[in-house]
């Protein structure tokens, strides 16, 4: 069936894979009709997809350094775009984003703008130049461009802080989904999630992660889009929701007025009875509900953070050429756009399904006793994601008496809208794919930096290939276990720690990376000052605000990267200018990076 090299057959291989997955969904739908239990369907979906990823990971095993670190630099543009999209869209994007939009509306959508706008910075400021450089890791670029172990070490520190903050959230998300779908306790499920993540990356490094991420993207995008289109068609909102939900958005605004959104407030005593983590609808769906600065500062942090997160940047080291790296950024954003532009539509459909008394699924305005008798209400109430209470004692459910968890918008909407359970199983598989693919990229970014930059470049430059790859794999397992152990403690929420990761990366890495390409005068002393002072000041600001500090300029604990990166920029420029200019060899290296043609700055094997 497949002849010739794997790379030449990619469209065919993934075409068959996609067809097989669709076939599997149909098979499950038939099994559901034949009486298979909901629990079994969930188990089948998660177990089947995870086994496929593990198989791809095994088939991609390698003993070569450049295959392990950069997938042999032969990943075609479009496929690298898919892999990056999966790498990028985390459990938070998949499970929590639509919920955030549902509850917080406009103020939350700064994240959508930020997490897409950042790719313009990636494409124009960094990706093509770092690809030309020919580095294996982001600290590899910093270490070679600025020279000296101190710069390399500082970059590794920033990378580790940012990526580790992020990865615990992802392992947490795999654990949550595995525990629900497989019906096992969370602190065991976390290690099941970890084992699946390691199976994908351990044997084949970047090569294995690349091909599993493509497979995971296909699963997650199918799992996200099918419910959106299905619900939209089912309630007669339009066959292509993205262009046809204007009436529904207007209807929600009308209902918000009718139900007295914002005018009826709950008392603190009433709210105290609502289970932790659940929220009611308090913000208008499509109105501007925050100040320009709040919106813009959050978007700016997410954009600069996008351009500094190493697990994204290293995906562009795997393309065959500089030109391909540039175009690949465009494809990445296109594939991300498919999901991100659907999230507000899902939030709209979900809200309307629950609010509109004209729809059979609408519950606002019904009697509380009727709502409490609905099957799906009981299920999700038990899962601690839905709650109603008759605060005013009139026996009718008011808008301010209905509470839901953020995850419920993605997880429960298919069931609320009356879709068969097979769709809920599919959504669980999609969430698992999203969280696993991001965790894989992050764990690999950290362990590659430690094995390549710390072990090989600084501790043992004479290490043989076999030894380097063993060290890389041992570190991968250690980082994974450390992440899972912290995830099992459940310290922070998923979304909060994701946003922090962006701020950490932005504080320490944004300007040292950008100025490394765009400012020849930047030198090692300046870069080290920029990275360390940026990270330290950003972290200090976060700790200060977390402990009740007032903050300044309206910078919150979600946007502390603004403080960190400004300190980083100023200190980098000042220190660079008062110390010696980089030598002529370094200046020549920067010139070379700026021209796409010719050999990479670092050799093919280094």
């Amino acid at each position: 069936m497949i002849k010739g090299k794997f790379i030449d057959n990619l469209p065919k291989v993934y075409g068959i894979y996609t067809g097989g997955f669709l076939g599997f969904i149909i098979l499950m739908a038939i099994a559901e009709q034949a009486g298979m239990s909901a629990k079994m369907i969930g188990i089948f979906f998660v177990a089947f997809t995870v086994l496929i990823y593990a198989l791809i990971g095994y088939l991609s095993r390698t003993l070569q350094v450049d295959a392990y670190y950069v997938a042999g630099r032969q990943v075609p543009t479009v496929f690298n775009g898919m892999a990056t999209a999966a790498d990028w869209m985390s459990g938070a994007s998949f499970v929590a984003m639509a919920g955030g939009i549902y509850f917080k509306g406009y103020g939350y959508m700064a994240l959508l703008v930020g997490w897409t706008g950042g790719y313009v910075l990636v494409a124009s400021l960094l990706a093509p130049y770092l690809r030309k450089f020919g580095c294996y890791t982001v600290p590899d670029f910093i270490g070679t461009r600025y020279g000296g172990n101190m710069a390399r070490l500082s970059a590794v520190i920033v990378l580790t802080v940012a990526s580790f903050t992020y990865v615990t959230a992802q392992i947490n998300a795999t654990g949550t989904i595995a525990s629900v779908a497989l019906d096992i306790p969370f602190n065991i499920a976390v290690y099941v999630g970890l084992a699946s993540i390691l199976m994908c990356s351990m044997l084949g490094g970047m090569r294995a992660v690349t091909w599993t991420q493509v497979a995971q993207y296909i699963v997650l995008i199918i799992a996200y889009l099918i419910p959106v289109f299905w619900i939209s068609n089912k309630i007669g909102a339009g066959f292509f929701p993205h262009f046809m939900l204007a009436d529904e958005v207007a209807r929600i605004a009308e209902l918000e007025n009718q139900f007295g959104l914002g005018t009826i407030k709950n008392s603190a005593a009433d709210l105290a009875t609502v289970p932790k983590g659940l929220a009611g609808i308090t913000k208008a769906h499509s109105d501007v509900n925050t100040t320009p600065w709040k919106f813009i500062s959050l978007a700016v942090c997410m954009m600069a953070g996008t351009a500094s997160l190493p697990h994204v940047m290293m995906r562009y080291f795997t393309t065959p050429s500089v030109k391909a790296a540039r175009r690949s950024v465009g494809w990445s954003l296109f594939f991300i756009f498919l999901l991100y532009s659907s999230a507000p539509m899902l939030a709209t459909l979900s809200k309307l399904s629950l609010m509109d008394p004209n729809l059979p699924t609408g519950i606002i305005g019904k009697s509380i006793a009727d709502v409490q008798a609905i099957d799906w209400y009981q299920n999700w109430n038990q899962a601690n994601l839905m709650f109603v209470s008759d605060f005013n004692g009139n026996g009718t459910l008011e808008l301010n008496e209905f509470f839901m968890g953020g995850k419920a918008v993605v997880l429960a909407t298919p069931e609320v809208a009356g879709l068969p359970y097979v769709i809920s199983g599919l959504v669980a598989a999609g969430g698992m794919a999203a969280a696993m693919s991001t965790a894989d990229g992050l764990v690999l970014a950290i362990s590659n930096a430690l094995s390549h930059d710390i072990y090989y470049k600084m501790i043992n430059p004479k290490a043989e290939t076999a030894k380097r790859l063993i060290v890389a794999r041992v570190l991968l397992v250690i980082i994974g276990f450390a992440g899972a152990t912290i995830a099992a403690l459940e310290i922070q929420g998923i979304l909060g720690s994701v946003i922090w990761a962006f701020d950490f990366a932005m504080s320490g890495l944004f300007f040292p990376l950008v100025l490394g390409v765009w400012w020849k005068r930047a030198n090692a002393q300046g870069a080290v000052a920029g990275m360390l002072l940026g990270l330290i000041s950003g972290s200090a600001y976060l700790i200060w605000v977390r402990n009740g500090g007032a903050g300044f300029w309206g910078v919150t604990q979600l946007t502390f990267g603004i403080v960190g990166s400004l300190v980083s920029l100023v200190s980098m420029i000042v220190v660079s200018l008062i110390t010696k200019a980089p030598d002529s060899a370094t200046q020549k290296m920067v010139d070379e990076v700026r021209v796409p043609s010719g050999k990479t700055v670092l050799g093919k094997q280094h």
Binding site: T116, G117, S124, A246, V249, V288, R326, R594, P596, S597
Partner: protein, 87 residues
């Protein structure tokens, strides 16, 4: 001016244009969020600011990156800096 310096100047100018467009749709317009929503301009029937945050800005970024990549390829070609296929 050397060939390389000219190439870099053009590349830099393209960067400025790209970042200017990026700035408008990621930051600039959101200073006027309230006014835009009240303006009565409704792409596909959605309130204007809402549409930009759902689709508009996101889609413009996708197009912008492909446009940027195409322009940069033209610049590289002009100066003979295009990569060989077997590189």
């Amino acid at each position: 001016m050397s060939k390389q310096a000219q190439h870099w100047e053009k590349t830099r100018n393209l960067l400025f244009v790209t970042l200017a467009i990026w700035f408008v749709f990621s930051i600039g317009i959101f200073f006027f969020a309230t006014e835009m929503n009240a303006s009565g301009i409704k792409p596909f029937g959605y309130p204007l600011t809402y549409w930009f945050t759902c689709q508009g800005s996101l889609g413009i970024f996708v197009i912008l990156i492909f446009w940027f990549a195409g322009r940069q390829e033209k610049i590289d070609e002009e100066f003979g800096f295009t990569e060989r296929e077997d590189d």
